[in-house]
Amino acid sequence: MPKLTLENVEVIYDKVFLAIKGVSLEVEEGGMVALLGANGAGKSTTLKAVSGLLGPERGAVTRGTIRFGDDDLLRMGAPQRVARGIVHVLEGRRVFDHLTPDENLIAAWHGGRSGKFDEIRDRVYEYFPRLRERGRSKAGYLSGGEQQMLAIGRALMTQPKLIMLDEPSLGLSPLLVQDIFAIIREINRKDGLGVLLVEQNAAATLDIVDSAYLIENGQVVMSGRAATLKENPDVQEFYLGGAGRVDYHAVRHYRRRKRWLS
């Protein structure tokens, strides 16, 4: 898998609203990287800049470069980027509601009518056996967890080299989150697939990724190995729920330090 490199990427919505300001990050070959941050920090915008989905929201990359291996992604439309091996699992799952799970997988397949299709579809069903059971009902009626599985499975049908997941844990039970994270980890290990994971759920995420970037107000404020970040006192306090203090002095403390962080 080629390496994904973002350098100083700046995204502006509607020609006025500056959403991310100079984000730089890297995903190594077969690496598993997380992008952590609060609501509105610019995580999803960063992913959309990579996958080329800013257009429908009237956003545009105004500065910086995004490269995947030797390819300059900013010159390509979204379908070409998928053809190069980057796939984006959108926030909120966004399965094709009125298609069956099987048709969802067919829609995402770009090869011809070959045996390769069956092979990859079987692998998806191996990861997510639930989808095969629900094969005939419309995807809109699946449960949230099944829809998330379908969204990931659908993305795998494009034969990606790098999969970007936007909050796969959103609205799922902690047990299901564990399952899905385990499968993501497995796909990453077995198939050597690069993963860029956007999450608010920092505790669960830092357990499975190799490294992570913290993003706040559209800027990367900290990055490093997952283990190192977990030890960092600021990260512990702001992202991992602190050390269990319920002291209102700590809240003021938090505010002050948060400003320092950004």
């Binding site: 989905l53 379908p79 966004r94 094709f96 298609l99 809109g140 049908m157 494009t158």
Partner: protein, 292 residues
Amino acid sequence: MWYFLELLANGALVGLMYSLAALGFVLIYKSAGVPNLAQGTLVMAGAYAVWFFISLGLPLWIAVLIGCVVLFVFGLLVERLLLRHMVGQPVIMVVMLTLGLEILLRGLVPGVLGAAPKPLSIGVGLSPVIIGDVFLNRAYLWGGVLALVLIGLSLAFFRTRLGTKMRAVSDDHVASWAVGLSVERAIGLSWGIAGIAAVGAGTLWGSVQGVDWTLSGLLFPAIAVVILGGLDSIPGVLVGGLLVGILGSVIPGYLDSMVGGSTREVVTSLIILLTILVRPYGIFGREDIERI
């Protein structure tokens, strides 16, 4: 009794021809998610195209074939030149755009090719087909058959892989881009296919009532058909067309003599109004799926 059966049969056949006019509307709605208010003028343009190529001395089937190519390319161009700039804009902008297209074509095509009504002969003869005591209009009969064939083809198309992708695009544009589907190409293709359906409808309607701008008025019964049948349902086009055709034939058949005519338009409007009040998504239209 025979009078009723005749109204019924002819109404059903006219209804199938309405279905044909409405088919393009559904095809576009199904993949682009946009109501195409220019569908009536597309039918008119299709009729004009076929008439024009016949007037050059070409045989009918070649004229229809070239007409299909012309309107297919026109459909692709509409997407490439107009709709592509509407990405990220509210749906109402696209609706207004199709309305503008309607007004433009309705003026432009008759303006260039002549506004006077022109005969379009498809060589089926004027003598009615007589079954028992029922007189069937021969052109309507052909129209009904062609409508059934084209609707069947559309149904089969949406079950293919390409058709599945187009249904996916209609469900969610952004999600389609995210898995590498070219939304632009799917929308262009749907406009192109709608153009071909419009040539079929235009040829038949042109042979029945002559080729002039009034063909664009088919938009009105077509909208009644799709609202009744469901905006994105091809079986709905069939059933909706039959219902609109039959009601629009039987009711005026008895009432026109009492009130002095023109009840067909009233029936069509009532169908639109009642459907929206009682069942807004039509008979077969999809409801938005919401899990609770």
